[in-house]
């Protein structure tokens, strides 16, 4: 038996200029929040952006975007849902709704292949992948099927998180994959980057330096971030500054030909 789906994935993603995988080896660090806010900031900067939630077992980007899961339209395949007026969006939740989806690794790969084979993305400057935590099936499938992906790694200042995230960075380096930088999330006053606190050798900034990567931004710990995300303009105030800077950096990389 021959699986026909891999052959068409390149064609489906041909209208997408760049693919950014928001990753972290550890859960609960805010990958989805950073991915969604980056997507909104890139749109604000004038880019055409799509977001694919690859966290099949813990899909949550639709909640952050305020999207009620519903079946996509069919037209030569399935068309992404529309979120926040300008964001093309696809998630397993469009099919599973709010039910638990207990999947084993092979089933995760099947679902990913299917989504990539039948989702028809329009012309996009960026497709952001909201990756699940870890370095398991989804990451390996992205490396196999979306081999032009660039990585944005999300971490918190927690020593435990950093230890695990540095393993991911080491793996990405070993595979010579493009990592565009780190985002430090949930930074509390006084415990953030080494640059900010003067704590040499510690923090996300120190990890970034060790891996010769830029620290794209430090996102403050905001207890009301979910309320902010549910508001009409989540990028107002401090978040707009941080993610506006991240968006400019990511766009600028392309302009100066770093890609």
């Amino acid at each position: 038996m021959i699986d026909p789906r891999p052959e068409v994935i390149g064609r489906r993603l041909a209208p997408v200029r760049r693919i950014l995988a928001y990753s972290s080896a550890k859960g609960g660090v805010g990958k989805s929040v950073c991915c969604v806010l980056s997507a909104l900031a890139l749109i604000r900067a004038g880019c055409r952006v799509g977001l694919l939630d690859l966290d099949f077992q813990g899909a949550s980007a639709h909640l952050l975007l305020g999207v009620q899961p519903h079946f996509p339209e069919e037209q030569g395949g399935i068309r992404p849902l529309r979120a926040r007026e300008a964001l093309d969006f696809m998630s397993f939740a469009a099919f599973s709704r709010e039910n638990a989806v207990p999947l084993r690794g092979g089933e995760v790969s099947e679902a990913l292949l299917e989504m990539l084979a039948v989702t028809v993305w329009g012309p996009l400057d960026f497709l952001l992948l909201d990756m699940p935590p870890g370095i398991g099936d989804e990451l390996l499938d992205v490396l196999r099927l979306l081999n032009r992906s660039e990585f944005v790694v999300v971490a918190t200042p927690s020593a435990l998180v950093l230890q695990v995230v540095e393993r991911l960075l080491a793996l990405l380096e070993e595979l010579r994959l493009p990592v565009r930088g780190l985002i430090e999330n949930m930074t509390r006053l006084g415990e953030g980057s080494a640059r900010a606190t003067g704590t040499a050798g510690r923090g996300v900034a120190a990890a970034a330096e060790r891996h010769r990567l830029p620290l794209l931004g430090s996102v403050p710990y905001l207890p009301d971030i979910e309320d902010l995300l549910a508001s009409p303009d989540p990028l107002r105030g401090e978040l707009g500054g941080v993610f506006g800077g991240i968006a400019r950096y990511l766009i600028g990389q392309e302009r100066i030909g770093v890609v």
Binding site: I2, P4, R5, E7, P72, G77, P102, E107, E114, V118
Partner: protein, 135 residues
């Protein structure tokens, strides 16, 4: 139609096989359509016709064979056909049609109720054989 995307994938794969074999003519292609995905054969044939535009073989080259969907419970070992999961709503069937792994959100083993089951057969579209001229 969603079927068109699957048909396009089939034609792209057959074309790849044809290229890798020096452009030999495609005489027949056998496809398996898994019951779980519920592909509409008519819509799928229309998708094939569209994807084959300009190629030297037509939809009549493709033989569509259906595969019954069966599941195997990893907890109790029971093997059961899709027909033994009668409680699925139309909306759930639609979700499974779009993405067969959605079955894990809606189905349980009829024997022990476990969500830990494997799809043993009949998932989606696959190419069983491609016969080329000169084979």
């Amino acid at each position: 139609m969603h079927e068109w995307a699957l048909a396009e994938a089939v034609v792209a794969t057959v074309e790849k096989i044809r290229r890798e074999n020096g452009g030999r003519p495609v005489l027949s292609v056998s496809l398996r359509l898994g019951e779980l995905q519920g592909v509409d054969p008519e819509a799928f044939r229309a998708g094939l016709a569209a994807a084959l535009g300009g190629l030297p073989y037509g939809p009549e080259t493709f033989r569509l064979l259906s595969d019954e969907a069966t599941f195997r419970c990893r907890a109790c070992g029971r093997l059961w056909p899709l027909a033994d999961s009668p409680g699925i709503s139309q909306e759930e069937r639609e979700a499974i049609h779009f993405l067969p792994e959605s079955a894990h959100a809606y189905l349980r083993c009829p024997g022990c109720g476990s969500p830990d089951f494997a799809l043993a057969a009949g998932r989606g579209v696959s190419i069983e054989s491609v016969e080329l001229g000169g084979d």
